[in-house]
Subunit: 121 residues, 2 copies
Amino acid sequence: MKDVISSCPIEEAMRVLSGRWPTLLLYYLKDGTKRFSDLRRDNPTVSHRILALELRKLEEAGIVRRTAHAGYPLRVDYDLTAAGLKLVPLIDALGDWWEDTEDDRAGGVSSTAETRLVAAE
Amino acid sequence: MKDVISSCPIEEAMRVLSGRWPTLLLYYLKDGTKRFSDLRRDNPTVSHRILALELRKLEEAGIVRRTAHAGYPLRVDYDLTAAGLKLVPLIDALGDWWEDTEDDRAGGVSSTAETRLVAAE
DNA sequence: TGTAAATTACGCACTATTCTGTAACCAGGG
DNA sequence: CCCTGGTTACAGAATAGTGCGTAATTTACA
């Protein structure tokens, strides 16, 4: 039941970047060109199938470029498009944010009472 | 089957921000304090159950603060914590990135051939 | 004055949809 | 047989939505 139009760029961007793998793949691809098997080694927990699907999704979104070399054994390279390259610093910033705000986010509900109870006026 | 430790801040950050709603809620909360019903109005497609769950998740992550006012009718306010406020510019940047790279991302596979075929050397 | 209904922020149970993973199979040369 | 990159079929897990119930007070209305 996906809405027809979102009109919100954030929502559209997240439609591509949401999930566990997209940002990680971007992270590994920023080092340069990688092959399918390289990416599997970089992240051994992703299944064969999901890696292929995620890469397709990123390719269709114009973030990753796929280059298939003719001949056998099969060989396919993946690297970032211009859009993908521009995205890298944002993802890095996200990681920095997570680390920088570690003390601020604290222990959630347990230690610091996040939820406050206020008397009605 | 979530792995025990990720050690990667990007992965951890995405564990919280992944999905359709978290970034949108952050986006609406940046205007200031909102109530549950305000957020439902801002985004009518989210169900009340999911909204409650997502807000709890963000609260536990230390990004959103929940303030329950005693008395009836029930009243609960939500606003951003310091960590949440620091995250806002990043989310905005993500939206900008999506818009700025629109031409670059092009039409995906259909028009521009994203997948290249290269002869073996 | 009595009673019914609305309000707000959920929780719970159930269903529907989507995501993720496993296993098997394909291609053609070594 | 193996290697590579990828697809399909199927199974199970995670996620999302619907509808009902609940609390104490206020308002609606005969």
